[in-house]
């Protein structure tokens, strides 16, 4: 283990310790929001956290209490039955014990639980008796590597509870938690909470779009400055790949949001549907932006090809013109380098000057000719 690696490990240990402390105090939302998490890095330890809204705000509660409240939620008659408090259970980095917890303690369907653990699902909305299972992707730009990261997020939406499952730290969750804490009254139903989560996730797409947009603009600018080195092409291919992967996820996700609007979902009050319509509009905008960017990128690549072949043309013309000029002039030198006994010019008083003049004249004539043909 090198010194540098050890240094990194120490640093990481310190950060994890700070996080643990934050969590211990139920300050995970702060931990989330304080920029301490690394989007590209999985949380290492499986962990289950609970929050619940009471009259004096939102508090982190221990699992025991959380489960008791969860069971009470199950008994709630309708999404707006305020006798049961809202409960949010967050499962991070689920392994076999967590899967068992979801399956046997929370009684979620084995298929949904399997999806949570195996991951790599399509965005989708599955209706199970008593709850919905939602798969979405959060996107972020990893500032260190300048790459997009997609994090799969699973949500179980019940009458008065919400259960989130994720593998990586998702900054969006921390943000929503902070907003819930700040204004508990505004989040009276699961629908509001679900909207806040989806809205935040979709809002975080825009910086990603901007990132892509910047890359495409750089690329476009680079074409005409002759910066066509390999590095640029490699970055371009990366951006293109990331945009393709992002687009793959966005398609079904847009369908999920459309479904939320069309279907008659029990936790969607008519007032909320305006808000989900808003999420849908943003979603549509993201899809259109990314399609436009892909279009622009294709255009830029074609322009690049055009520029390259244009430059090749110019190079070849320069080479052709100068080759012909130099060869023609060299030919004259070659002629007067022949060893014939009788070559009148050789004996001339100004023969040498005559030859040099001939070369110069021929060279100039050709030069002018090629200039006129625009080859030089």
């Amino acid at each position: 283990m090198s010194a540098a690696a050890r240094g990194r490990a120490d640093e990481r240990g310190a950060r994890l310790a700070a996080l643990e402390e934050a969590e211990a105090e139920g300050r995970l939302d702060e931990a989330f929001a304080a920029g301490e998490m690394d989007a590209g890095e999985p949380t290492e330890r499986p962990r289950i956290s609970c929050w619940s809204a009471t009259d004096n705000g939102v508090h982190a509660i221990d699992l025991e209490t959380g489960l008791a409240l969860f069971d009470a939620c199950q008994a709630a008659k309708s999404p707006i039955d305020h006798s049961a408090p809202l409960v949010w259970i967050d499962v991070a980095c689920p392994r076999e014990p967590e899967a068992e917890f979801l399956r046997d303690r929370l009684h979620f369907h084995p298929l949904a639980v399997e999806d949570c653990v195996r991951g790599r699902q399509r965005p989708k909305l599955d209706r199970y008796p008593g709850y919905f299972f939602l798969v979405m992707y959060a996107a972020a730009i990893n500032p260190a590597r300048d790459r997009m990261a997609l994090h799969e997020v699973h949500l179980f939406l019940g009458r008065r509870y919400i259960v989130t499952v994720h593998d990586h730290r998702v900054a969006e969750f921390g943000e929503v938690l902070a907003r819930w804490r700040a204004d508990t009254a505004a989040f009276s139903t699961v629908g509001t909470l679900a909207h806040a989560l989806m809205d935040t996730i979709v809002d975080h797409y825009f910086p990603v779009i901007d990132h892509f947009s910047d890359r495409v603009e750089e690329m476009e600018a680079g074409i005409f400055e002759g910066r066509s080195e390999q590095g640029g092409l490699e970055r371009l291919l990366n951006v293109r790949r990331e945009m393709t992967l992002f687009r793959k996820v966005l398609g079904p996700q847009r369908d999920v949001v459309s479904t939320l609007l069309r279907r008659d979902l029990p936790f969607l009050s008519s007032e909320l549907s305006l808000y989900f319509q808003d999420v849908h509009d943003h979603m549509m905008r993201v899809v259109e932006e990314i399609d436009t960017l892909r279009d622009l990128l294709t255009g830029a690549m074609e322009a690049q090809l055009s520029v390259t072949s244009n430059q090749l043309n110019i190079t070849m013309r320069v080479m052709a013109a100068w080759s012909i000029i130099l060869m023609a002039v060299t030919l004259i030198a070659g002629i007067y380098g022949m060893n014939f006994h009788i070559m009148p010019e050789l004996a001339w008083r100004f023969g040498y000057e005559w030859a040099l003049g001939l070369m110069l004249a021929l060279g100039c004539v050709l030069l002018v000719y090629f200039k006129k043909r625009n080859w030089l």
Copy 2:
């Protein structure tokens, strides 16, 4: 601050003063129409203006009166209830106070108001209780920079009022205002006013299309005149980008107009629907034109590539032919430049002429050969 910059600032101040004066007199429509506004430049000062139609024409009114009328409009029972006059409130360049005004005084939905302030929305038509919220884009060619500018426009359409929100000066608004003033009687409902606005916006797309069309034609003409310099390619990429951005906006905008036709909207009398059908036809035509232009541009770019590679072929053939001719002739000179003691030709009486003749003959034979193979 350089002298030139100061000059520009002075000039700008003068223009703003003139505008202020015009507005003070309720002559904003003239200001709009007089070509004083700069499509590419945001209005600097947030501002709220009101107009109302009375028996003796359309007049600019102060905000107080406007709001009183607005409240009366709210109470109007139907779109054709002529007891309440038509009111148009225009909010330019909304900042926080204006947003508050829209939200708290006019009671528009927070989501719609947020869209107005944040901007960069998709064209859309949202139905809120009692009014519609419409997002459209006005397009113009900035004559100085020869570029397209898209300006987002928001409309709230109520029973007897219309509220417009925009960031930049929109020439189309001035035009409609002038028409309203000229023939007040023809604008009896909000529908007529909304149609006039949308119709004018769509009509202003055609000069943009013509601008693109001219660019594409120039490009096509340039291909065969050998004008394949970088500048042209750069302009082409710009036009292509602008067309892509324009197309991105047009798609959902067309859907908005279709929705207007299909849905049973309260402010759309059956007689008006003929007029909206007309707007829809124009919208469709714009979309088809832009798609055709993109098609033509793609065709032109492919032809450009073909021409470039064809020219490369020609260049290479010329170079190959002349290289071979000159090398072959130089070889003869090289041979008679060798220093062997016994080289019979060197002693010949016409040895020099023989060598020159040989060169000429070889050169001519090759020249004819390459001419025949069409390389020269």
Copy 3:
């Protein structure tokens, strides 16, 4: 004014005079059909003509009578009410007075009349109370310039009348008029007449398709004959542009014909719908043919690119091979042209022959080598 131009003007005057005469005699159909019209050229004078079917055939009638009959048509109770005769009013090259005539005298909707005068509409079918407004495009190949011309045609279809508006002479109208005259009995309703017009217009697309098809075939043939000169590429780009423009018009036109079939139109008897189905089939065929041609053209262009880059490869190999051969041989000449005091070969009896032999041998070895590598 040059003599040639004057000659052309004279010639034109004569032709116009002949046409006037023909029209005066109600022989416009003959004028139409006699090949005197020039598809690419607008009729210069706005003009309104009338024809009506009586028991003893179809006759050109003066406008007064025409209008009286038109008013009678308006009163007709159903499309098959034979008490009113069929009337065809043709408005050529409408200017402001003609627009006024359409709007105020014939009482057509201002929007439709505006479309007629402004032109450049999408093909469409608008339903107005009491009549239909139809926009179509007639296509023709201008034999002189070998280019396609599209002529916009507007039709008002009422109970017992048909009003056509057009800017250019449309050969198709003359043809239908001639058929009406020849067999008046076969055209008993407006539907029959409208079918005849649309059928003729669509039938005239096929020569255009054939023209495109010929161009594409020429292009395909030209690829492998090495005819890749610029002229060909320019023609190709023209054909492609024309096909794109034609396609743009065909799409909505096909939708118009589909609408005619689907909608329950009063002038379409069930027996006629078989005939309109036929027009629809032909329309579909035209669209499919043009799409196929575009496909073929794309294929040809790609093949062209392939051929060009293949030829470049061949050229470069030839050049590379010969350059290397000639340079290598020249090197030997250069070596024996050095001026070292002691160079044994120079003094050899057959030194010169040795050098020549060496050159020949080296050249042959290289030649054989390149032949084997298939570079020559």
Copy 4:
């Protein structure tokens, strides 16, 4: 007339005579099946044949009897009314008299008859009162020219009769006729016969697909063997064109078969619909195969382009490397060929060897350098 042409004419006459004889004996199915027909060649003589199923099998009958039976068929009350025998009338190469026969004697609709005579229709299914009119295309590979031929086929399907019209000999008809003869009982309704015809036509598409598939595979194999000569490219373009033309026909034909399944057609018993479903599956498979092949072909063409430009790269590197090596070495020879009075090396004892050594050394150094850069 040359001897060869006369020979061909004789041969043809003999074949025609044999065919006539076969037909006279009602053995057309044998004629069809015996490989005597040439798919690429129109039958020269218009001809009408009849077959009818009686208790003791299928027999060719004369036209008189056929027409009598046809009239009886018209009177049949339902498709399964076995009182009327099944009649098949085949019209080959219809000219005006045959068209008149179809129109006036068999009372088919003039539009359908016109389609039969004019040909070049889209595949379609038209419903006329009392019968259906079906247009399909039979495909075959002409073994001599290795090209695909498409033959238009028209079918009139009535209650108890089937009338086929075609221009070229269609092997598929002969096959169905033979199957009918072999097992008359299996063909009890028009539906069975129609299914047999369509099934056979679609089954004959598979050899065509295989032919295309072989061509594409050859092409793919050829790319990496460096066989990029023009001939191959020409064949490729031909295959591509044929696939495009085939695809153009397949699209609407698939729709026809779908329509057959969806619509409630009187001659389609529920049991038969399983069989038509089978035809539909095969049709879908053909379409998917051809689309896949087109995809593969596009991929192969792109790979071809890649290979070509890769080879150009290699060629240019070889040429660049050798040019530089030879020029550098020649430069040394040129230097020692200069005529300066004082050039020490010239007088050295081993000056010549020194020069040659220098050349060799320089050449080797450059050679190694270029080998390392992978240019050679």
Copy 5:
């Protein structure tokens, strides 16, 4: 027969013998699962096997018993009628006798049986009275040749029986059989068994996707390492072809699974439909993944082209620069190699050094110039 071939034959004989033995003991699932089968190789011998679930597990039974049970299944009143045991009959590599068995003994429809024997069907779901006929494709990567193999699989799904028909050994069947044996109780209906089969088949697509994904990534990595040799291109074309073929099969297969969900199928209890929804999601994911991969591959190929033409540009610039430098320097040597009697430099004391210096200076100037223009 070479020794190697004989060796292979022996080896094969031994393996077949082992398989026979395994089958004889009803251990086919083990045979399937033990990796003995070779995905790319058809089973040589037609064979019919039966399994049935009894109270004490699943057992291989002989054909007689199987058929008796099959007949009992036919009499079962509903899919959940547990009076009849579940029967699975597997037909491997059907030839004429097996087809007869399916047709005459099991009474399947001749069309379905023909599809089984002929193979090369599209994935589809056909409804026959009393049973469903399902065609699917299993995919596997042949580890030896690194190629994808698609194996057609036919399923007959009845009330209480399932009949599978296949040509090659399908590992998925063995897996399902093993699961059935391990937990007989979990497979109470045909639906569960069908789900298990389809689920396993679709799950086996993911390794194929991963295989393609690896190939594409290798390809992307190879572009910038300059590994553009032919071998890579050939592999790429293979991957592309396989992906195209796989995609061709996936499209209709996805439709089949959608149909399973939409249609009201008797063997699909509502609880099962959740599981089929899961299969559908996976199917969708496979399709999206393959489309994304094709997209990425296209991007990589375009980048490849860009890199190649970029490298050509670089090569040509190097060549142009060095050609011009060497030619210019050689020209000086040529000039001083001329034989004029009066050439002052020749007599200079440091003439030779002057010439060499001139050459060096010219070379350096040009070198610096080209370095500055970035050509070297």
